[in-house]
Symmetry: C2
Subunit: 211 residues, 2 copies
Amino acid sequence: MAQCDTKTRILDGAEQLFAREGFHNTSLRVLTNLAEANLASVNYHFGSKESLLQAVIERRLLPLNKIREEKIRKVLALAEKNSILPGAEDLLRAFIEPTLEFRNSSPGARDFISLIGRSLSEPDETVRNCFLDLASPILQVLFKALHQALPQLPPEILITRLQFIMGTMSHVMCMGNHSAFNNPELPLPLDHNTLVDQLMKFVLAGLEAPK
Amino acid sequence: MAQCDTKTRILDGAEQLFAREGFHNTSLRVLTNLAEANLASVNYHFGSKESLLQAVIERRLLPLNKIREEKIRKVLALAEKNSILPGAEDLLRAFIEPTLEFRNSSPGARDFISLIGRSLSEPDETVRNCFLDLASPILQVLFKALHQALPQLPPEILITRLQFIMGTMSHVMCMGNHSAFNNPELPLPLDHNTLVDQLMKFVLAGLEAPK
DNA sequence: GTCTATAGATTGATAGAC
DNA sequence: GTCTATCAATCTATAGAC
């Protein structure tokens, strides 16, 4: 673990273990051992294991959401200035690109993205809400922006398709380049740029599919 | 729990709890209590908690995969008979429709579909492989069939898009009609047929998106 | 803030009577 | 096949010395 204060080392370790082993399958003993911290330090710094999870998610998601929201607002502002409708592709890109760019910025970030990618389907409601409460505002912003971009698409269809998009993204965020197919015949090279490119094309086509 | 033998009651209970609470968050005590069975009966009938998970998945997934494979083969056979290419839409439908139909067939089936929807992003490798080993063959069949249907699409792009489709499906299978958005303004009525219909349109458009 | 020690509860698994 | 009783390990959380 890097040389920094205990609190940060615990956050880094928790990020890694929660992502790779799962929240319930990570014990504070293994965690504090990895973080080179004392078993008691988790409760001293964070109060409980669940509050630690909350802190792990907040540390990265709040800044990421700020970036995504700024980019979306920029697309909206530019469209308004030119008196045209905002483009669905630009809006989706403003949401997706920072996420996957962030994923590639560091090993910890990769673990984090994997963690929140899975949060959407987390069975434990406490864990899931920990993520959803922080993600809900930006999803609302995106929904409203896309509704401006595609006014002819009924809201209930738009929100359904947005759910599909979240599902696709979650999957990419969890798996990254790792294939779901145990298929030795077909390796997946897929560098970062190709992956983003393909993901954009896929979700844009899905979003704009005929009613 | 229904009146049937202990083994079945344990399978039913495990299906429900593994799906709703998660595998690691489900204790054998709570499980055997729900199944009205003795604590020791799990190890007697299945050997271990992990073997129980294996049994839970096998019981439903093997028959379901058989149905999906038959439907895919039927599409392929009909196309060959008429000397035309199989349709991508027919193939996707052969894979997706039985899955979501099965999901609606009983409460237990719904839990099961939710469970395997999440298996793809399960962090614990043992649990994930438990599912992947059984899912891999049918995914291979689907991939090869779609490659026939869309020969102009490079295999590495096809497999990437198939991954996206699996992600979208997983999400629908996990969440069902339950929204990812904590948005009281926008309820999601989405009956079964509309959901399948929208899902088909979304993934087909994504699969056939321009390169 | 960091440590040791431990409480107090829960876990998966098993032994052995019936 | 089903039961009780229990083991040995593990867990989160806390108390209290330093």
